[in-house]
Amino acid sequence: MTITDATLTQHGFLASGAGRVLLLACGALAREILAVKDAGGLDHLDLQCLPAIYHNHPEKIVPAIEVAVTKHRDDYDKIFVVYADCGTGGQLFEKCKELGVSMVEGPHCYSFFETNAVFESRDEMTAFYLTDFLVRQFDAFVWDPLGLGRHPALRDMYFGNYTKLVYQAQTDNADLQAKAQVCADRLGLTYEYRFTGYGDLETSLAAL
């Protein structure tokens, strides 16, 4: 099956129906989850993704998760939500608790990719993060929604308080590193490369 980033961004990913455990995830994590699943032979996991663009609209995440859990609850032994808090202000955690499902710990994928403990210890207030997916989809998630192509003067209003762009790489990919450097340049930020692999995502999935 061919997955495109554009599809993951706008539409997400449909479950195959095979597997005892359904992962309800952000579309921005689809490739990474499938990689972890394949590498670990985690055939009991099935994956369904919500549109990744909800990353920019956290208010859509909680209702969409509720609908998906309700719809699929009877089809699987267990449902696991592969979102961190993701800007929902604790509401996703509360909703998962109410629905009786678990979720990945942490404030954001930036945190669990690096492992939550390491991310917290860094205390990088002025870092702007990109993952593999967000590097590939930089225009769709950052440049275009912020209107920076049409209004370049807005760049410093958005990013004036940031000092660096950190590319948290899940894979070792020279093309993505070059693109991330360009993203940093476009935002007027210094560039830092940091290989993270899958961090707490991997351990969370392996525990299911």
């Binding site: 808090d85 800007g87 929902t88 202000g89 207030m125 807005l154 209003m157």
Partner: protein, 233 residues
């Protein structure tokens, strides 16, 4: 637009000029707004009238269209930037002419958080509504809020946060005010993308404000109540 179609602001009568300024504000045209403000002042308008009728009137439309999903953040920021240009001209004149002051607010993003777009919008809209606003900037620890309270003597304390990890710090500030027996002396308003009304109540704020327009209305409402309480005392 061809040269023949260019609108010469100075050739418009007051009514048409204000209408044009609404359009220019909507389109984020800072230079045109500055020119319009200067023209109205030169025509004898009081600074407060320029502020309320031309700028705030225009920003109210921007705010409503943002709320209704017609305008998005980039356009609102451009409009705000245009209003800022007009405000820079009006501010000293407002001080000179003794324009009515609704109240005083200190506002800052909480410790650990560098996001200030929402805070800046609120600050500007509050100024437009006649509040004196002291902007504390970003990454404010409780000590900074206490110091600003002591120095500025505000009616309202505004706190902003964009991160789920930083929003709990608002409670630290409020709890400190409670410990010091100061909480009831101030109206505490909170805002930021991950917040909601429930959170505002849980941490002991007076109100959660969904956006800048709501912040202004909420602040006005609380100030009116405060004045009424004062009158009844």
């Amino acid at each position: 637009m061809s040269e023949e179609d260019d609108i010469i602001l100075s050739e418009l009568n007051d009514e048409d000029l204000v209408a044009q300024m609404f359009d220019d504000l909507y389109d984020g045209m800072r230079e045109e707004i500055e020119e319009g403000v200067n023209l109205l002042i030169a025509r004898g308008w009081m600074p407060y009238r320029v502020l309320t009728e031309a700028l705030v009137g225009g920003m109210t439309i921007v705010g409503a269209d943002f709320r209704d999903g017609i305008l998005f953040v980039p356009e609102v920021l451009l409009a705000a930037n245009a209003m800022k240009g007009g405000m820079a001209i009006l501010k000293p004149l407002l001080a000179e002419t003794g324009a009515p002051r609704v109240g005083k607010m200190i506002i800052g993003t909480v410790k650990g958080d560098i996001h200030d777009i929402g805070k800046n919008l609120v600050g500007m809209m509050m100024e437009g509504a006649g509040f004196e606003v002291v902007d504390m900037g970003i990454n404010n620890a409780v000590e900074a809020y206490l110091e600003a309270i002591e120095v500025e003597g505000p009616d309202i304390l505004g706190m902003s946060a964009l991160l789920t990890t930083t929003m709990p710090y608002m409670k630290v500030v409020i709890d400190t005010l409670i410990e010091k027996g100061m909480r009831d002396d101030y109206i505490v308003l909170v805002g930021g993308a991950p917040l909601n009304e429930e959170f505002g109540k849980a941490i002991g704020a007076d109100a959660y404000c969904r956006d800048a327009a709501v912040a202004v209305e909420t602040a006005k409402s609380f100030m009116a109540r405060k004045h009424n309480q004062g009158a009844m005392a």
